[in-house]
């Protein structure tokens, strides 16, 4: 984004010099002074960071004003900070059982998501490729997928608890079953939309099926796959909190439930803040990965 600006600046700086000194020697164009570059960068950053900061600050003030009155059911931000100071400052304590710092709760949740989501990514891309490639697989499986994907994540939990008889694999299964559908469906659409031209090229070059899969299908469908993967990571983060509230043990979902049961409303608010930030980071992570992998594919 900043490149064109530099270029125009350079050429603008170079033109008058070239006009006056044209017959003598070619002059090296003057580079924009470093301080100026930094100043511009700072300006651009500020333009992005300042407006959300102002909005957040305003919201905090409004919240503080509304909840500061005596008898308010929710704590104002100042009280939230006072109550949760220890949790914020020391996220790594471990007193055994479920009395752990927030870091441990979040990392347990993230681990479950990592397992479930990885399985979903593998199975989703494999099934999506099958459904996108074969008309018969699509006719057979697509109606099934369309029905199954509408089942709410938590509705799967009792069934998986019955099957696995343990909380940990059940939570992972719920993550898996929640995030797999968008991955399957988007991959299938991506595979189906591979232009006939690319298939023709592959046919003329005589790529074998494996080469066709790795050299044409995966890169051609990658933008669609990453759309599915991005929706999937969002859904799995949504599902984990709900699932953990029910299965108990260590995890941010149960932390919230536990805080509710002990009426620590401030802790709930702090946990929600963390859940939001991590969900945002996960989404950006997958989006960034997609950007790197699909570089070149989208622009044609």
């Amino acid at each position: 984004m900043s490149m064109p600006a530099i270029k125009t600046e350079l050429s603008a700086a170079a033109i008058p010099q070239a006009a006056t000194a044209a017959p003598v020697v070619t002059m090296t164009p003057k580079r924009a002074p470093r301080a100026e570059t930094y100043a511009r960068l700072a300006k651009e950053t500020a333009a992005r960071v300042v407006p959300p900061l102002i909005v957040v600050a305003l919201l905090l003030v409004v919240w503080e004003l509304i909840c500061r009155r005596a008898g308010s059911s929710l704590p104002p931000p100042s009280k939230v900070f006072k109550d949760t100071r220890e949790l914020i400052l020391d996220p790594f304590f471990d007193n055994g059982g479920i009395d752990k710092g927030l870091f441990w709760h979040l990392s347990a949740s993230l681990q479950r998501v990592a397992y479930g989501y990885s399985l979903a990514a593998i199975a989703g891309i494999a099934l999506g490729t099958l459904v996108g490639q074969s008309v018969w697989a699509m006719r057979g499986l697509d109606p099934l997928f369309q029905v199954l994907r509408t089942i709410p994540p938590l509705a799967w939990l009792p069934l998986s608890l019955a099957a696995f008889r343990d909380g940990q694999p059940s939570a992972i299964f719920v993550i898996f079953i929640t995030s797999v559908w968008p991955i399957i469906i988007n991959t299938a659409v991506g595979i189906r939309n591979i232009p006939q031209d690319y298939r023709n090229v592959a046919a003329v070059v005589q790529l074998n099926p494996l080469e066709f899969f790795t050299k044409i299908m995966i890169p051609a469908a990658a933008p669609y796959m990453f759309t599915g993967l991005r929706i999937g990571i969002g859904l799995s983060w949504l599902a984990i909190v709900a699932a953990e509230m029910l299965i108990g043990g260590v995890g941010i979902g149960f932390f919230i439930w536990d805080a509710w049961n002990s009426s620590h409303i401030s802790e709930i608010i702090l946990a929600l803040f963390y859940v939001g930030i991590i969900g945002f980071v996960l989404d950006r992570l997958i989006a960034g990965l997609g950007k790197i992998v699909t570089r070149g594919t989208a622009a044609n």
Binding site: P195, D197, Y198, N200, V201, A203, V204, V205, Q206, L207, K215, I216, P219, A220, A222, T294, R295, G296, T297, A299, N300
Partner: protein, 264 residues
């Protein structure tokens, strides 16, 4: 004399449900080695279908294609295609696009270094060696088509199939690229079958021009020999009597005897 490439009584019928459309009817054509043959006709006459049949991308309903007396019915690098819209893979660089074909065709006969040299050789044939690390989105339309030609040439095809290769380019770029193809044909002696709808292009480049009647059931209406010595120079031909006569013949065929009725 045995023909190098022979299209033998080709019919093509498309069937959708109960409706059938006969696109091509009894196409017979023999092409000698090293010959440059153009197929010209109004859009929708099935000339692209014919090229796809020769390429093996579409099957003929009846009849078949013989290359050096062997029937071909699946696509392969011996009949490399330069597609109308270049069809470069956007996630590969220029070099990798050409290498994709080279790696398959010369997997056993050339080692790594030789294949690399061969890719670069073909890129320099079309003056694109400088852009080896660019992606297709970073180069112009004419350059993309050059790379498309390099990719096809690098497979050392027995027949080079050009499917309206210059159709999507502006007039100046097109002329430039036509000259390049002519020079390559002169230098390498490829057998070329080209689809076009541009009369000047057909006369300038071809040894023979195959004129197709309008579909449905398009046939070969007329085959015109172009008696012009090579190398041909675009500017000199503009006033050349036999060039003008050939041009006239093709125009007459296309716009008087087989004018495109539905177009208006």
């Amino acid at each position: 004399m045995q023909a190098y490439l022979k299209l033998d009584h080709i019919d093509k019928t498309f069937t959708r449900g109960t409706a059938t459309t006969e696109v091509l009817k009894d196409i017979n054509l023999t092409i000698e080695k090293g010959e440059y043959v153009s197929i010209i006709g109004h859009s929708g006459c099935g000339k692209s279908t014919l090229l796809n049949i020769v390429a093996g991308l579409t099957g003929a309903t009846n009849g078949g294609v013989l290359l050096e007396n062997r029937e071909v019915n699946s696509p392969g690098p011996d009949r490399a295609v330069v597609f109308q819209n270049h069809s470069l893979l956007p996630w590969l660089t220029v070099y990798e696009n050409v290498k994709l074909g080279v790696d398959k065709v010369f997997a056993r006969t050339k080692n790594r270094a030789e294949r690399d040299a061969w890719v670069m050789h073909n890129l320099s044939l079309v003056q694109m060696a400088h852009a080896r690390d660019k992606r297709p989105s970073e180069i112009s339309g004419g350059m993309k088509q050059r790379v498309g030609i390099a990719r096809a040439l690098a497979m050392e095809p027995k027949v080079l199939l050009l499917d309206e290769p210059f159709g999507a380019l502006d007039a100046l770029t097109r002329a430039h690229l036509q000259d390049s193809v002519m020079a390559l044909h002169q230098k390498l002696g490829n057998t070329i079958l080209m689809i076009t709808h541009d009369v000047d292009e057909a006369v300038l480049l071809s040894d023979r021009i195959v004129m197709m009647t309008n579909g449905p059931s398009a046939r070969i209406g007329e085959v015109l020999e172009v008696p012009l010595a090579r190398p041909r120079k675009r500017l000199e031909l503009a006033t050349n009597a036999s060039y003008l006569k050939c041009r006239q013949r093709v125009l007459e065929f296309l716009y008087e005897r087989h004018s495109f009725v539905e177009a208006a």
